[in-house]
Amino acid sequence: MTETFDSFALVAIYSAMGVYVVAFIFFTLDLAKRSADAKPAAITASVGQNAAVGGRATVATLEAEAEAVAAPPRRVERVAFSLTVLAWALHVVGAVLRGLADGHVPWSNMFEFSLVSSAIAVGVFLFLQFWQDLKFLGTYITGFALIVLGVGTVNFYVPVTPLPPALQSYWLIIHVFVATLGTGFFAVGAGLSLIQLLQSRREADKTSRLKFLGTLPQADKLENLAYRVIVVGFVFWTFTLIAGSIWAFHAWGRYWGWDTKEVWTFIIWVLFAGYIHARATRGWRGTRSAWLAIIGFGAVAFNYTIVNLFFKGLHVYSGL
């Protein structure tokens, strides 16, 4: 039974990767199309905001409505987005099947981390669309998912194994799940900050070869979006830290011991606290805080990969 579920899981995962590739291509085509569409005058235009703000005579709303009319329909993007939804559904099915094969939650080794964290990152991206149109991040997110899922499946795949005693705790379920949720939000936030940096460079000298930027929101709008996504990630990360210490307390008898993974969870938390402060401080807002958001996410990625694989510590459960 276990083997059947596991092989079906792999089928679903490989199919998801296939569809992600196509979605990635379509998102990239859309960016190319955006470059073609972008007129120099469009520099100050900002689309990508749902007109959900509503209301009557506010200046902001009028602007938003005008833009909604002006923005050309993004058919290619819509196709890409639908494909992403499909790929994600396959991806989730893959994760669920793997969990059924395991007989426990599917996040106890590197392969399963990659599987679940990429699914959550894409899930966060998809669900954020109900709040804001962030489809322009599609290339970034599908690319990210492909890399994580691809490397995870090809390089880190391990067959189903029982949970070692140290991992048999519902704090594990909470801790790791919340950590991957936080990662998903940080990933989207870093993408927004990245585009913010490109955008503010373009706004400064108006000569960017990345013409599609002209169809994207302005830098300060991107900065606000990034902030709102990242603070949600930060709250999840705070929970990760606390749930992790409670788990450590049950498993090893101390809630904090500066073990390698604890160190990195702490570093990431402190970096994003720095980011939040930077956002509230003159001279640090804007480009500098955007860099902090990217560095913070870089630390998350480092933690998942290099630290898991090469650093020694109590958290030795990469399964490799």
């Binding site: 705070t238 409670i246 008898g253 809630y255 402060h277």
Partner: protein, 558 residues
């Protein structure tokens, strides 16, 4: 955005006082004040936070004495020249190092210096009325206006239609019921209500930062009054909670022996379950359970279990199951036939299949002292080289091999010795290795004579009456317990929960000011103005002002 920290931050150079009086002292206070202001500024907080993150990195690159003391010893022996240099820089004690401590102490001083004035400011703001309505609301970030014709307005019961004072009264009660604090103001030609909500945002922020200080103190004090210790217990053996009974014991700074509450604990039985079904995971551990009996003074024994994620709370401390292994029972008779040694010796596991090594020292053996370096294989199998290895962690084919030595063990020299390692310098090997004689190989229940009439070694079986091929109980197991007491741990948790509550309200509650202004027109028309100002992040401000305006106009209309 006049947030309190803006109020504190960068408010000019230190004020000059009367230059007539002693200059140096003034210069010093001025300098101190300048320094204090720098330290408690947001900019410094960011820099210190980033420094803290960077300073934490080396602790993950090199082994730390606190979490991995053996790793440090290994690093020293592998890198004899580099290690002392790193040690000088405290890179094996990063989190207690001078430089790491300096950063977080500065950060927390900055935090305290930042939180106290903001708390005072906030307490004042909590009691103050919302500020006077700006004269020109249309200058604010969010602004809406409508004019209502007399025909649109609710005529009311008296027949006199709604005017500015009615409108403002309606706005006041509407805003109050949606949680705003309100104040009425009268301008030259207008009436207005000024409203503010979301004080809880700043409260949450202050609670969050204060809780961080609480966590730091609780961690510091808890560590100071607590202790941690390790104890290895073999099946059937007992442990009494006194300092001398621990294998290693680390007291906190303020620890006294009185913190050790008396109790006794016996390991009745240790059970390990291994995967049987999955082929890929065959032999991986699934469950460890230690069955123990505990006695508190003047009470009957209680049966309990300790599992990996389920510590046992006993006598104010928590007992954790951190490790386990085999403790073969070895009896040595010396050349004169006397029992010179008999004990179950804990062997240190070397791999997942519990190939284990251990040392037996027999200083009482006559005519010569004896020592043995042992290898234990719970399920022995042969490598292609002919060497033995364990192929399963359970007891299926237990084999003990021993290298034997004679000579002066140096136990009288007072130099502390590692109980799990044997330094062969000065000893003569008489079995195994280069001695020419084969290593001693034993199964449970067997005895072998040592060369040269030096005596004999017995590997005693713990289940002498078991069936012929049932080895499952033949060798006792041991557990390694970590025993901790941290009287502040609940405080740490409590402060952490408070911090999260503060964080949530500080990040997600909007703080905003809203104004509604009503102006009576000459022709019975009523002009209504609505404006909002965000204080901090407030993405929903425009929508909120629109909703207020809509509901308000609805109430006034016919």
């Amino acid at each position: 955005m006049s947030r309190p920290y803006d109020h504190i931050e960068g408010s000019g150079p230190p004020e000059k006082s009367d230059p007539g009086i002693t200059q140096p002292a003034l210069g010093l206070t001025g300098y101190l004040r300048f320094f204090w202001r720098q330290l408690t500024s947001m900019r410094t907080a960011i820099v210190l936070l980033l420094l803290l993150a960077i300073a934490a990195v080396p602790g993950s690159m090199w082994p730390q004495r606190s979490s991995d003391p053996n790793g440090v010893i290994q690093f020293f022996s592998k890198n004899p020249t580099l290690a002392p240099v790193l040690d000088r820089l405290q890179l094996f004690d990063v989190y207690t190092s001078v430089w790491f401590s300096a950063i977080y102490i500065l950060l927390f001083i900055s935090l305290i210096g930042c939180v106290i004035p903001r708390t005072i400011y906030h307490l004042r703001a909590l009691r103050a009325k919302p500020p006077r309505t700006p004269a020109r609301l249309e200058r604010l970030a969010v602004f809406e206006a409508t004019e209502l014709e007399p025909s649109e307005l609710d005529p009311g019961e008296s027949g006199k239609s709604v005017d500015a004072s009615h409108a403002i009264e309606a706005a006041r009660s509407q805003l109050r019921s949606s949680g705003y604090r309100v104040a009425l103001y009268e301008g030259a030609k207008d009436l207005s209500v000024s409203a503010e909500r979301g004080y809880l945002r700043e409260t949450g922020n202050l609670v969050f930062h204060t809780a961080l200080i609480g966590i730091l103190f609780a961690v510091g004090l808890g560590g100071g009054f607590g202790y941690t210790g390790q104890k290895v217990i073999v099946e059937g053996q007992s442990f009494v909670n006194i300092k001398g009974a621990y294998d290693s014991f680390t007291p906190g700074r303020f620890f006294t022996d009185a913190a050790l509450q008396p109790y006794r604990l016996t390991l009745d039985n240790f059970e390990a379950k291994y995967e049987e079904h999955s082929i890929q995971a065959y032999g991986q551990p699934i469950d460890y359970t230690a069955h123990v009996t505990t006695w508190l003074p003047h009470q009957k024994g209680v049966n309990s279990t300790i599992k990996v994620n389920e510590p046992l709370a006993l006598g104010g401390s928590d007992l954790y199951l951190l490790g386990n292994g085999y403790a073969p029972t070895i009896t040595v008779r010396d050349g004169q036939g006397n029992i010179a040694f008999t004990a179950s010796v804990p062997f240190l596991p070397q791999d997942a299949n519990l190939t284990s090594t251990g040392v037996v020292r027999v200083p009482d053996a006559l005519p010569k002292q004896l020592a043995f370096l042992g290898f234990f294989y719970p399920t022995a199998g042969q490598l292609t080289t002919g060497a033995l290895t364990s192929i399963h962690p359970d007891l299926r084919n237990p084999v003990l091999t021993l290298f034997a030595y004679t000579g002066d063990l140096g136990l009288d020299s007072g130099v502390p010795q590692n109980v799990y390692a044997l330094d062969p310098t000065g000893l003569t090997q008489i079995a195994g290795g280069k001695s020419g004689a084969p290593a001693i190989e034993l199964r449970p229940g067997q005895t072998v004579q040592l060369p040269d009439g030096l005596g004999s070694v017995t590997f005693t079986s713990a289940s002498p009456n078991a069936a012929a091929n049932d080895w499952s109980k033949s060798v006792p197991r041991y557990i390694s317990l970590d025993i901790h007491r941290d009287p502040a741990q609940l405080w740490v948790l409590l402060f952490a929960i408070i911090a999260v509550a503060g964080l949530l309200s500080s990040l997600f509650l909007p703080r905003r000011r809203v104004w509604v202004k009503a102006i009576d027109g000459s022709d019975g028309r009523l002009r209504l103005e609505y404006a909002g100002l965000a204080r901090g992040e407030d993405p929903g401000l425009a929508a909120a002002v629109s909703a207020i305006a809509e509901r308000h106009a609805q109430r006034l209309k016919a």
